[in-house]
């Protein structure tokens, strides 16, 4: 169930959810803390913390306390060394992975409504398309206009608005597959109020979606006041036709 969370100004930091398949897998987690009497390693093997008591064992030759005389190469010491090495490798790999995730996420926009909701030039001169593309041109951008395509009320439908967006350089993508990390881009989605208007959403770094209706403030809430986790299932009011998802590489698109 979605939460009703008061929208606010400032960054929200959440673990990334949609950076393709970039999610730390359990295998990269540290092993669970050792229990009191044994030392765990991957694969489920354990090492006793204390040497076995061999006193009374036939043929055993141990010291006065019953511990086997050590040559310095006992399996306990060797096992501990392997466990330590495994932890080092595991930690290294986890840090490499986290650095990669951070690098991949650098292109995902942050949800920072304060930047867009200035009650001034940025808010009032940029619409849903500007916000979705994360490009405040202050021209109330229209899909395709930068390429000479003019949308009219009669052609407020998925194919025509999509045509304009693709002409601007947006790339269609499967919503569930997302944009991946091969390029520096983020995911957006478009819906239509047939013969009336269009609307755009964008996916932010925190994995949630946000939008900006015309010159009104940007928000991450849908029309029911719920956080948008998927524009396909969000309350979109009369924008009942969902047209699909796109990838936006800001260095490769032109909007106006």
């Amino acid at each position: 169930m979605n939460e009703a969370v008061e929208d606010g100004v400032g960054e929200r930091h959440h673990p990334p959810r949609y950076a393709a398949s970039i999610t730390p897998s359990p295998s990269f987690r540290h092993s669970s803390p050792p229990d009191r009497d044994s030392h765990s390693g991957p694969g489920g093997w354990t090492l006793p913390r204390t040497a076995p008591d061999i006193r009374g064992m036939s043929g055993a030759k141990g010291d006065e306390n019953g511990f086997p005389r050590s040559s310095g190469r006992e399996s306990c010491a060797t096992g501990l060394g392997s466990a330590t090495m495994w932890r080092v490798i595991s930690t290294f790999l986890e840090r490499v992975f986290e650095a990669f995730v951070k690098w991949a996420n650098r292109c995902l926009p942050l949800y920072q409504p304060g930047v867009w909701n200035d009650a001034d030039g940025v808010q009032y001169n940029n619409n849903c398309y500007n916000y979705g593309c994360d490009m405040p041109t202050e021209t109330y951008a229209q899909p395709g206009r930068a390429q000479g395509i003019i949308l009219g009320a009669a052609i407020m439908n998925c194919p025509d608005v999509t045509n304009g967006a693709v002409a601007d350089g947006l790339v269609r993508v499967n919503c569930d597959q997302g944009c991946g990390c091969s390029e520096c881009h983020h995911q957006v989605a478009m819906a239509i109020w047939p013969n009336e208007d269009y609307h755009w959403y964008r996916r932010d770094r925190d994995g949630r979606w946000s939008h900006k209706m015309g010159w009104s403030p940007a928000t991450n809430l849908d029309s029911s006041g719920n956080i948008i986790t998927d524009p396909r299932t969000a309350d979109r009011g009369p924008y009942i036709v969902f047209c699909g998802c796109f990838c936006v590489n800001k260095s490769k698109i032109t909007i106006n």
């Binding site: 849903c128 403030p217 009011g237």
Partner: protein
């Protein structure tokens, strides 16, 4: 002494109805623009701090009044003022200021929108004029 308003002076008012498309506009020209600017200034009597509800897709989300610089300077107005839910909002140097619309400015704008042919988009969003057409 009142200044003469150049004939080309236009206060442009956007009717907040669309998300993507350009919004319909109301034009207030010449002396009418001056009178409107005076009315806007006079409407700022009761200052409030009001958190407006977030807009919902498909609903009317207010009027955006764009005041040309000469008139904004003469009447000490912001160049962009919004009116919605009976609240007038202006951007000032360090934030916003809000006033309760006691003078019926919003309703006047609704009437203007209807009279300038934008009644259909407002009607579709449940915004009706209170004064019946002649």
């Amino acid at each position: 002494m009142a200044s003469d308003v150049p004939a080309g002076t236009v206060i442009m008012v956007e009717v907040g109805v669309f998300s993507g498309r350009a919004n319909p506009r109301i034009e207030v020209r010449g002396e009418d623009a001056r009178a409107f600017a005076m009315a806007l200034k006079a409407a700022r009597t009761e200052e409030v701090r009001h958190s407006l509800p977030p807009p919902k897709l498909g609903e009317f989300y207010g009027f955006l009044i764009r005041v040309p610089r000469p008139l904004a300077g003469e009447f000490d107005l912001s160049m962009e003022v919004t009116v919605h839910f009976g609240i007038i909002t202006e951007r000032v140097e360090r934030g916003i200021r809000q006033w309760r619309d006691r003078s019926g400015l919003e309703q006047q704008l609704i009437e203007r929108a209807y009279s300038q042919g934008h009644g259909d988009v407002l009607e579709k969003r449940g915004v009706r004029r209170t004064v019946p057409p002649p």
